[in-house]
Subunit: 466 residues, 2 copies
């Protein structure tokens, strides 16, 4: 049922002042200036580009505060939003429609007609002894980034730095810390980019090696401290590593404590369940961003893919629906991209296992092609992998690792969204000029190969049927 | 009707040895090694990347022959294709299934079971007195590029060079000749990039000016010669220009003389008419590339858009259908891209005028956005313009001029092809990371604006109806 609009001169309380939270607050104020909007943020900063933290840390001459898009004061003065930093929400009282927050001075209560939960996520931390010592960091909010950056500035060149984890944040930090002159080692439980295909992983590993980053298998069993500061770590393989700094980048978990305590439904992914309007199981309470689930465009249960662009979309949507717009979120297909030195890695849709789960009969094809025309200087290589449904040819997923041109993932993301088949992909009229692509764009070369694979598959199926 | 396969051990003759011609020849040999394939090329080179000529000319240290992908000898030895350079076809005798070619030694005849016409296009030349003088060039085939490059190498730095024309080849040459140290003036009848929108044109003009290229309005009325070489030109405005070299880049025309003389149907665009199989009005004769029309994906009559990628597609398709594959060409939507110094310009689909012609009620929206996230260094601006159908929201066309990220035109091209609406565009899950885009990709910002425009349009329409 379409959410009811917040009453005239009603009160919206937002918990969490970053992407989803401030998008919702701004959207409501834009549509309904009569609404009294209060945003509660436990940290010091609101509205910052958290995804930009690694790149800010890379540049010693820039302040971490450069990532702030709009200051609390600007929100108050220009948008009429009452932003309260240093307000840590302790509980939600759904009977009395009240949120209780703790500040340095004590607790205070905020009455709401509608509530937006945008509590974000927190990094998974090792539960290893010593992991709270100085020099052991996790990228979380701007405050944690600031601490890491300040500490980094004090380290002598070529200091040994260890990153725990092999996901995309670990990869971004490996690049950034290398560029800052550190000697970087990445410790992974099994492998880097575990969820990516073999081709991407091989390219990423080669890129790390070429840039002097060492990858070691193992799990931390203890940190070695010196004067209360990290000095090294020991792995379960028996290996000891020196470390003047450690970054734990082992993934993140949604902050659902408040929602759970308030009795709101939590989804199977562990994040807050929301409907297509962004509403939780309580119609007066919305949620979005890194604490919430999102519908999956290819069907099946909701997914948890905490990314900045999704957070902004969900926040804006929740804001619109708090005002009664009745807009629905078409969902995500897990498109993402990151850079590792000179390698661009991107993915969209599902892999074979997930496609099978959703009832498809996935086939795949993979190519490596040039990114520019024959004879045009500066071209790179691009690996493209496509997952499609054998019987129908429908595109289901894709992955790329490329020296340039990973943007092609967006054509495939759009294709998945519109139900494009491999035959349609093969017939696309893509932009060609020598600086931008070969005369056969890698997407078209890939499509031709998938068609061959599908033909063979259909023929084999027919033979079995006969 | 699906074309009949060429007979066993049949003879295919191909006229024209570049993109469409050699693609057809190669495709036939790959599918049907029994077929005897002969390719007749009037020039010295076959299978070269003509679109790369400007960029090859830019680099004095590279041979123009670097653009050749496969040599005649390689075609003969590795692909079993009998390539004959220096063979200028003079006539097609459809009664006797014979092609007559002239060589340095005389004429010779080639019997065919199937014929592929890939005669390409020729540049429009000024019919002004002196236009055949030394130093007046047009980019046509590799030979003409070679001549231009050789002459350029002899010019002293800062020599005045004049380009006649304001289309994309004129723009590419303006960049290349500037980079080669020449003082470049572009002479246009009315304006540069006449078919593009005002925003693109303004950005292109600013880019030319910033790079020292002067743009002058006028039409050449005569060339001034000195010792049989061009020394300058006079415009109809009375202005005289010095010119140590002139490049006439006033567009191209399809080479249809042979086809016309043989009585084959010529389309309304002036290029050879072909059906979806690539067949001309004679079922035994196929055509493709810069001499032929192509179906238009948005409906309406066939179009003439001579581009390298289309030529390759049409050649491959014709080859497949000569072998009886029965594949059809889904057509083009006029997607194209070019670079002008640090500006990327791309377009796809139709403009408002053409959309109206096709029966749509076009609306448009235009934005200028950042290409990277807030706080991420090195970002550029991107102008994006979208044409869509007011009543249905269907995407019909787009244009972009950008410091980086013109690849977005390919997402919109795919969107036009799959019937995507602006609402679907707004819901796309595009790849976000600070080095690649802002958190709201410009495509999503554009979509949001189009939705507002559509809402206003539908409301106004309803009010009129009431």
């Amino acid at each position: 049922m379409k959410p009811e609009a917040i009453p005239q001169n009603g009160r919206l309380v937002v918990i969490g002042g970053v992407a989803a939270g401030m998008s919702a607050a701004s959207q409501v104020k834009r549509r309904r200036p009569d609404v009294q909007v209060t945003a509660l943020e436990q940290g010091e900063y609101v509205s910052y580009g958290a995804c930009g933290m690694p790149y800010n840390i890379e540049d010693p001459d820039r302040d971490i505060e450069d990532l702030v898009v709009i200051s609390p004061q600007q929100f108050r003065e220009k948008r009429g939003i009452d932003v309260r930093t240093g307000h840590r929400v302790e509980s939600i009282d759904r009977k009395r429609n009240i949120v209780v927050a703790r500040t340095a001075e004590g607790t205070c209560e905020f009455q709401y007609d509608r509530l937006m939960i945008a509590t974000g996520a927190r990094p998974v931390r090792s539960a290893v002894s010593g992991s709270d010592a100085e020099g052991i960091h996790a990228l979380h909010n701007l405050d944690s980034g600031k601490q890491l950056k300040a500490m980094l500035g004090d380290l002598p060149e070529s200091s040994p730095v260890v990153i725990i984890g092999g996901g995309y944040i670990a990869m971004e930090m490996a690049e950034v810390l290398t560029r800052r002159g550190m000697k970087v080692t990445v410790v992974v439980r099994s492998m880097v980019l575990r969820r990516f295909c073999d081709a991407t992983r091989a390219l990423a590993e080669a890129t790390l090696t070429r840039n002097g980053v060492e990858v070691i298998q193992g799990q931390v069993t203890s940190y070695t401290l010196r004067n209360g500061r990290v000095a090294g770590l020991v792995l379960d393989t028996g290996v000891s590593l020196e470390a003047a700094m450690v970054v734990e980048a082992m993934g993140i978990r949604p902050n659902v404590g408040l929602a759970q305590d308030a009795g709101l439904d939590i989804g199977t992914t562990g994040a807050i369940a929301v409907n297509a309007y962004g509403q939780t199981s309580d119609p007066a309470i919305f949620a979005g961003g890194d604490c919430a689930e999102a519908p999956f465009k290819l069907g099946g249960p909701a997914v948890y893919t905490p990314l900045g662009d999704t957070a902004n979309k969900q926040g804006k949507l929740a804001g619109a629906n708090i005002c009664g717009a009745g807009e629905t979120f078409s969902g995500v297909i897990n498109t993402s991209i990151f850079r590792l030195f000179d390698l661009e890695v991107a993915t969209t849709g599902v892999n074979e296992a997930k496609a099978t789960e959703l009832g498809y009969k996935p086939l795949s094809a993979e190519i490596t092609a040039n990114t520019r025309a024959h004879g045009y200087p500066g071209g790179k290589k691009i690996m493209l992998r496509l997952i499609f449904d054998g019987p129908t040819g429908r595109i289901l997923g894709a992955e790329t690792a490329a020296g340039e041109g990973a943007w092609r993932i967006n054509v495939l993301s759009a294709g998945i969204d519109t139900g494009m088949t491999i035959a349609q992909l093969a017939g696309l009229d893509l932009a060609y000029a020598p600086p931008f692509s070969p005369v056969w764009d890698p997407l078209l070369t890939l499509a031709a190969l998938t068609i061959k694979k599908q033909t063979a598959y259909l023929k084999a199926k027919q033979e079995i049927a006969v």
